[in-house]
């Protein structure tokens, strides 16, 4: 209420508030009801994390090989750069030869970078 | 010729460089080279003197008889410009002659006197350097050049007093001379600063021309004049800074003759005579000079009567005679003072060289109680020494009579108290005659009381004695008073440079001829009394006598050295010890070391900030940002 008074026509927003209160209230009431009313039988099997039906092994927080991240980052990098092709594709005609040269330069750098990572062996999974 | 004046100091400088660099290689030649250098500058000085005398009258009048030779700009800044100029006029040309003339004789004498000394070459290098500095002093056209020479002669004096530096007492004497002179120099320096602060110039001519405006501020002029006089008391051994001169006799005898009798010690007289335009309008300063001069003359004379060291007697005699010169300056009789400087240079150099001859003869003995009867061993020395004695005692027609008499006349006619000063001056004159003849009788008469066989000195030493003796006899004729129908040549010659101050203050004494002759008679009579007293007291001297009472007091130099030691030196040491302990150790050292320690401690503390933890760094980073924001917002209201 206090918040609403700050606006010039607070009354207009009043129904929205009622709707919010009703929505939150409904969720709380329903969750509370199932929790209270439902039957409970606690066994160790039931309390275990569900892992697609396979028995779980060890801790999830294990260090991963840095290669995962390397590949992931390289993927994101190249993936994001491809996004630039969309606006170019749309404005292809308007940009003309100048645009074409710019994109060729862009692709050239792109290929240079790609060559570099291949040559460096960044994508080699086995050492 | 006048424009070649720079040659005069140049020759001794070259001599100094040659003898100084070759002091270990030249051997005996260095003595002759040094003497030749002085002779050369003497010849140039003589030529300058002759040309100056024969200058057409109108030019002489037009320039008040002085010629300034510009050499180069010494200090050349926007705020301060001082030229390296030489000024030649009657005053400086007379001094040139005296310095180079007597200097030459003493150089010749030294060749023989110092012949067995291991520092032979060094000695002549110093002597030449001294002559160079002294010439700079008298030639300088402004106070700064004068001061350079002034310091130069002080340095040479120091070097030569401590010439036999292996004797610790001699080096102490040298230090004493230097320190005393420095005290005086401080006064001189302050005087120069005072002068420059108001006149914006230091050359004599500009200041002389500025005098009419400066006269509106008499206290200022008196202050400057007194400051300069303090400088003069140091250099010319007047009360209270006179005690160094007797000690300065530690140096070789020719040095005593040249520096501590004939030339350097008269620098103060020269400086005041040069500044006559200043002193003539500062009557208080003049009065101070007169009283100090008289007191010095009397005090030194009493001490001289009881000394037994031949050179000490002469030293106190010098102090006493300088006192006479200052008395003359005090009554504005500049010509008389210069006159006495000249005659004194002759006979005192003679006496010192004679004493050197005596010391040489008796194998370095200086105590007159161990001499006696030398008359028959060394005829020439005896006769020349005797001439020196009667000259200084003031027996006519020798030179001392004329110059001293002129001073006494001026004093007699000076103001209302002139007659009292005259009587006291006469007392000093009587003591002069007494102690000089006491010295003569004890040394040369009676029987020989020392060891060994005295002998006459070689010709190289006796020749200068003879020349100086001749000069002592005839030297007075340049200033024969009018009462004898003579023409006071010196007065006429010096007149142009004193013109301005004579216009400000008349200094020619007015005395009837009868009175003048009467006074002269009294003076001669008093001198004779002194001589007679000495004759009866010491013609058959017996060394066994011990002094007591007032005589003992005088023999121990009135305990002035002891007084200075108690009143000045000891408290000064006390203060400096206190300063060393409290201010230096605890204060300054404490602060300096404290800062050092603070930084050390601060360093170890600030280092702790560097914990190596990034989280902490970021926390400090944020704190820093808040600090900077807070400071900026707090100090600049936004």
């Amino acid at each position: 209420m206090i918040l609403l008074e700050a606006f010039s026509t607070p009354v207009n927003y009043f129904p929205i508030l009622i709707q919010l209160v009703l929505a939150i209230g409904f969720v709380i009431v329903m969750m509370g009801a199932t929790h209270l009313l439902g039957p409970k039988r606690k066994t160790t099997d039931k309390l275990e994390n569900f892992e697609c039906g396979i028995e779980q092994e060890g801790n999830a927080r294990q260090p991963l090989a840095v290669k995962y991240f390397l590949v992931a980052i390289l993927f994101v990098l190249f993936d994001v750069e491809v996004i630039f092709f969309y606006p170019y594709a749309i404005n292809f005609r308007e940009l003309g030869w100048n645009g074409f040269i710019a994109v060729v330069m862009f692709v050239a750098f792109f290929i240079l970078g790609f060559t570099y990572i291949i040559k460096k062996g960044a994508l080699n999974w086995e050492d | 010729m006048l424009n070649l004046v720079w040659l005069v100091p140049l020759f001794p400088l070259i001599g100094f460089i040659i003898t100084g660099l070759g002091r270990n290689h030249l051997g005996k030649a260095s003595g002759w080279i040094a003497s030749l250098a002085i002779l050369a500058s003497f010849v140039v000085s003589a030529l300058i003197f002759i040309e100056l005398k024969t200058l057409p009258e109108d030019i002489a009048e037009h320039t008040t008889g002085s010629h300034v030779v510009h050499l180069f700009n010494f200090i050349n800044t926007h705020a301060m410009q001082i030229a390296f100029d030489f000024q030649i006029d009657a005053l400086s040309s007379i001094f040139l002659l005296v310095i180079t003339g007597i200097g030459f004789l003493i150089h010749i004498y030294s060749i023989s006197y110092m012949s067995h000394d291991e520092g032979f070459g060094k000695f002549f290098a110093y002597l030449n350097l001294f002559v160079f500095s002294m010439l700079l002093l008298v030639l300088g056209a402004n106070y700064l050049i004068l001061f350079i020479g002034w310091e130069g002669v002080g340095l040479c004096s120091y070097l030569l007093i401590g010439f036999w530096y292996k004797n610790i007492a001699y080096t102490d004497a040298a230090k004493k001379a230097f320190i005393m002179n420095r005290i005086g120099d401080l006064g001189f320096l302050i005087g120069m600063f005072l002068l420059y602060s108001k006149c914006n110039a230091l050359d004599f001519k500009s200041i002389e021309n500025m005098m009419p405006t400066l006269m509106n501020d008499p206290s200022y002029i008196t202050a400057v004049a007194l400051c300069f006089f303090i400088g003069a008391t140091g250099k010319s051994a007047q009360i209270p800074l006179f005690t160094w001169l007797p000690d300065a006799m530690a140096g070789p005898t020719p040095v005593s003759a040249l520096i501590h009798a004939a030339t350097m010690v008269t620098a103060g007289v020269y400086m005041i005579a040069r500044s006559n335009f200043l002193y003539s309008v500062a009557p208080i300063a003049q009065q101070v000079i007169l009283i100090i001069g008289l007191a010095t003359a009397l005090l030194a004379a009493t001490i001289a009567t009881q000394q037994n060291d031949i050179k000490k007697v002469l030293a106190y005699s010098t102090v006493s005679q300088l006192g006479f010169m200052f008395m003359a300056l005090g009554v504005g009789a500049y010509t008389a003072a210069i006159f006495h400087v000249i005659t004194h240079a002759f006979f005192k150099a003679l006496l010192f060289l004679g004493s050197g001859s005596v010391i040489h003869a008796v194998d370095g003995e200086q105590d007159i109680r161990n001499m006696g009867g030398l008359k028959k061993y060394m005829k020439i020395t005896y006769i020349t020494f005797f001439i020196g004695c009667i000259a200084i005692a003031g027996i006519p027609p020798l030179s001392g009579f004329f110059s001293k008499d002129e001073i006494m006349m001026h004093i007699f006619t000076h103001g209302t108290n002139g007659k009292i000063f005259w009587i006291l001056g006469m007392l000093a004159a009587m003591m002069t005659a007494y102690y000089m003849f006491r010295l003569l009788f004890i040394t040369f008469h009676g029987t020989y009381r020392g060891k060994g066989h005295p002998h006459e000195s070689p010709a190289l030493m006796t020749m200068p004695l003879i020349v100086l003796a001749a000069l002592s006899i005839v030297g007075g004729f340049i200033g024969i008073p009018e009462v004898f129908g003579g023409h006071h040549a010196l007065n006429a010659f010096l007149e142009p440079i004193l013109l301005k101050s004579q216009a400000l203050q008349t200094s020619i004494y007015e005395l009837s001829h009868q009175n003048e002759i009467l006074l002269m008679g009294v003076a001669v009579f008093i001198a004779c009394i002194g001589i007679t007293m000495a004759w009866f007291g010491f013609k058959k001297y017996n060394a066994a006598d011990t002094t007591k009472g007032i005589a003992k007091f005088a023999e121990d130099k009135w305990y002035i050295d002891e007084l200075y030691d108690k009143v000045i030196v000891k408290p000064l040491f006390g203060i400096s010890k206190w300063i060393e302990k409290i201010i230096e150790k605890a204060g300054i050292d404490g602060i300096v070391n404290g800062v050092g320690r603070l930084i050390q401690v601060g360093s170890t503390k600030i280092r702790l900030l560097q914990s190596g933890l990034v989280g902490f760094y970021l926390f400090m980073f944020v704190l820093g940002i808040i600090l900077l924001f807070a400071l900026q917002m707090w100090l600049v209201k936004f």
Binding site: - | I599, F621, L628, V636
Partner: protein, 460 residues
């Protein structure tokens, strides 16, 4: 402009040189060729722009000043590479990449020298900084190097955030990133009409800048990073990078924020005081020369801050040019000697003068220049920046304070000289200097001495 392009391209060239050139010598020669080419190109740029300034798309303005500074800084970098190229190659396996990163940093330096738009300033700062994070950690086996890299990166990210925040606020107040635009200039014409957004923005820019040049209280990363980084890269980070940040910000603060100097002068004054105290006082305690030089670089930054502090003064601009060159050369000279030693402590330098007189002499010249002794360039450098403040007439007390602090600095610099000349010891060498090294070091020392006599040589 060509220098910017060439430095970027040469960075790529160096990357590929690492792939295709097998010998380490060839890679080093490629790098040296690149820096010489860069020097030539920047001189050509200077001649091209000596008559007229040129603006590129409202983003960059290249005029006679920026291109002159480019020449100077390229020359310093050339000196650095000539002296250190062997040491750089010896840091680790990826030698070509180290050179590539240095060229990328140079690209950032040129951007910083010529920006006329806050975006390019930001871009320049980032191009300058990110390669440095990698360089700091390039000695992978060394845990200190890794730590340095991570610290630098974390704190650098923080400061970048502040920089962006500051720019955002200024954009909010002016509506423009272009520092030559009317909206931008109008905002900073006088203090009374400036919005409070700008006030906060300027201070945030100042703080971010203070971080980059390691001014206290934002300096805490400096000793750890400079000490932990491979010794071959420390002089690069401490000199060329640092002074170009100064030049970048002096443009902004003098020409854009000069009229509203009241809004930031107190902050920078407090930075100066803190920097001088912390830099000098802490340096006194250090035992390792490398770490001492890290603190010394903080202290010297305190002096360079004076040039920013003294607004509307041509002396300040001259001062920062001279200071940049002299400080860079002197630090490079000292580090060139340090890297040759086995033991970086003071004791490790005992007796160096006997063993390696040339190294000891050149190090002495460089140290004297860092103290600011006359006849070395360091004297005039300090003289110009301090007299710029005196000329301004306000805050004279800071100058007095700075001179006192310079006296303290003499203590730890002279300690090195004392070790080299007056103590006896082994002075064990890590690598023996070649004649080539000695020649370069003597050349370096001669330039410092020459600038001590003719400082006007660097004013262009």
């Amino acid at each position: 402009m060509n220098a910017i392009v060439l430095s970027g391209i040469w960075g790529v060239v160096m990357m590929f040189a690492g792939l295709f050139l097998k010998s380490s010598k060839q890679i080093q020669w490629t790098a040296l060729l690149g820096i010489i080419a860069l020097l030539v190109v920047s001189i050509l740029d200077y001649q091209a722009h000596s008559v007229q300034a040129q603006t590129y798309f409202g983003m960059m303005t290249i005029d006679v000043y920026t291109s002159w500074f480019s020449i100077l800084i390229t020359a310093c970098c050339a000196m650095y590479l000539l002296i250190f190229h062997k040491d750089i190659a010896a840091v680790g396996k990826n030698e070509a990449e180290y050179f590539a990163l240095i060229f990328f940093v140079m690209c950032g330096v040129y951007l910083l020298a010529s920006y006329s738009n806050l975006l390019i300033l930001f871009l320049g700062i980032e191009i300058l900084s990110i390669p440095q994070y990698i360089l700091a950690g390039s000695d992978k086996e060394n845990i200190k190097s890794n730590e340095a890299s991570l610290k630098y990166f974390l704190m650098g990210a923080f400061s970048t955030g502040l920089l962006l925040m500051g720019m955002t606020l200024i954009y909010g107040a002016t509506g423009s990133f272009d520092i030559t635009s009317e909206k931008f200039v109008g905002q900073f014409e006088q203090l009374s009409s400036m919005s409070s957004l700008s006030f906060v923005g300027i201070l945030l820019l100042l703080i971010s800048f203070g971080f980059k040049v390691s001014a206290a209280p934002l300096h805490l990363w400096t000793p750890d990073v400079y000490d932990g980084s491979p010794t071959a890269f420390t002089p690069f980070m401490a000199t060329i990078v640092k002074v170009s940040v100064f030049v970048a910000f002096i443009r902004l603060f003098h020409f854009s924020f000069g009229n509203v100097s009241d809004a930031w002068q107190i902050a920078i004054a407090s930075m100066i005081v803190l920097t001088l105290i912390i830099g000098n006082v802490t340096a006194v305690y250090q035992q390792s020369l490398k770490r001492m030089m890290a603190y010394s670089s903080i202290a010297q930054a305190g002096f360079m801050l004076f040039s920013i502090f003294a607004v509307n003064s041509t002396l300040a601009y001259k001062g920062i040019l001279l200071y940049s060159v002299v400080y860079s050369l002197a630090s490079i000279g000292v580090f060139a000697v340090i890297i040759k030693m086995k033991d970086y402590t003071y004791d490790g330098f005992n007796g160096l003068a006997k063993k390696q007189p040339v190294l000891a002499f050149t190090a002495t010249v460089c140290l004297l220049s860092l103290v600011g002794i006359p006849l070395t360039g360091g004297f005039f450098a300090k003289y110009f920046v301090l007299s710029a403040v005196v000329e301004q007439g306000k805050y004279i007390w800071i100058v007095v304070f700075a001179v006192l602090m310079a006296a303290i600095s003499a203590y730890y610099y002279f300690r090195v000289i004392r070790s080299m000349y007056f103590k006896t010891g082994e002075a064990a060498m890590h690598t023996e200097p070649t004649t080539w090294d000695k020649t370069l070091l003597i050349l370096n020392a001669m330039i410092i001495l020459l600038l001590g006599v003719l400082p006007s040589l660097v004013f262009g």
